[in-house]
Amino acid sequence: MSIFLSILALVIILISAGLLFFLALPPKRRSRWGLRPIPAFSELVRVLGLSVEEGTRLHLTLGHAGITQPTSASALVGLQALERITAISSVSDRPPLATSGEGSLTLLSQSTLRAVYRLNNALDLYDPQRGRLTGVTPLSYAAGMLPIAYDENVSAHLIVGHYGLEIGLLCEAAVRNNAFTLAASDSLSAQAVLFATTKQPLIGEELFAIPAYLQTSPAHVASLRVQDLLRWGTVIALVLSAVLGVFGWL
């Protein structure tokens, strides 16, 4: 990487960090920006409540990207969702279940579940088997989730992470069992599959809006704002570079 690009990246990171801190301040010090309604999240909140009432299980799957891989950001979003969903439904007869296709993600999901139970003073209800590795290859991971979809009285699947085409197997099982599915992935091929096979797919960067819409913390809403600002910056930079290129100034 050239020194110019390194410095540019560092400047963008520093500006983003500053904006993140500023926008995460309490709302009274600045005007509050509302989140645009996304039907998938309204439906998710409704399904969460229903599952607690009916005693059915929620299944959150985190993908198979390792924490050391560049595609792990989607799994981190999934862990945030897991924390919030567990907090809401930990008192249910059938607490949520997290599956993953990579070892470090499994341990992180167990750690997240344990932390929520500890904070709710219900550590005795914590079961490490609710954070499971279902397979270490993409297909074995998908195949390992099928018994959960069919046999564990799951009413909603939250599919948040990095996948390949194999995620279609879980989506099909969910449709057959008439379970709600909210799905988001950073992989283009998985997004295409999820669009065709799930009731509520999230496209592109909507994946990173999940923690904000689940009301995890002000930092997540601030993060969405910064993401929007960076997107506008990118759009302006792209248009500007195209115009400069046309006139031969770049």
Partner: protein, 207 residues
Amino acid sequence: MVMRSPVATAIAIGVGLIVLLGYLLPLPVLDPIRRLFLDWSIILAAVAGLVAILNLFKAHWRKISSSRERDYYSLFFILGFILTAALGLLFGPTDERVRPLIMSIQLPVEASLVGLLTITFVVSAVRLFALRRSWMSGIFLASTIVFLLAGSGVFLTSGTSQVIKEVLAALNILPAAGARGILLGIALGSVLTGLRVLLGMDRPYSE
């Protein structure tokens, strides 16, 4: 995030900053430290993988030993795991006798799953409108058919006119442009997610 663990948070932030700065700034002092941390993380991830596999073994063991919801399919997992682990430990995973043995089981099973997946996609395409009635679904289906035909090469015969070739070339740019737009959004989201972890706002590692 309500979880608090100051020591783990301080370590995560410190290590994260060193790795980031070591990547962005050409300082000779940072590069070896960054590489060392990355090596450690890979070793830790491998250990985590081992722990998770043992956890998976335990889950299946519990299923076959459960008196209420006994699952005999788990027996296949237990036997497969023991056999693979024993052969791998005795002869090594790259042994010429062990590798074909494992592959001759794993590959047909995975090929069957891919076959099943193909049928699933066809069924899903047919069922798309029942699942979600919207103009997006219509565009999705139409573009799938158009790009399947365009990608199949059916239009690229020796007699294809230059106009059709130009149209196909223009059509092929559309998915690339859309993909880049989506990937830019994903990249920005990933940067912000990483930044939240780096600033200690998200702590997936702490209890």
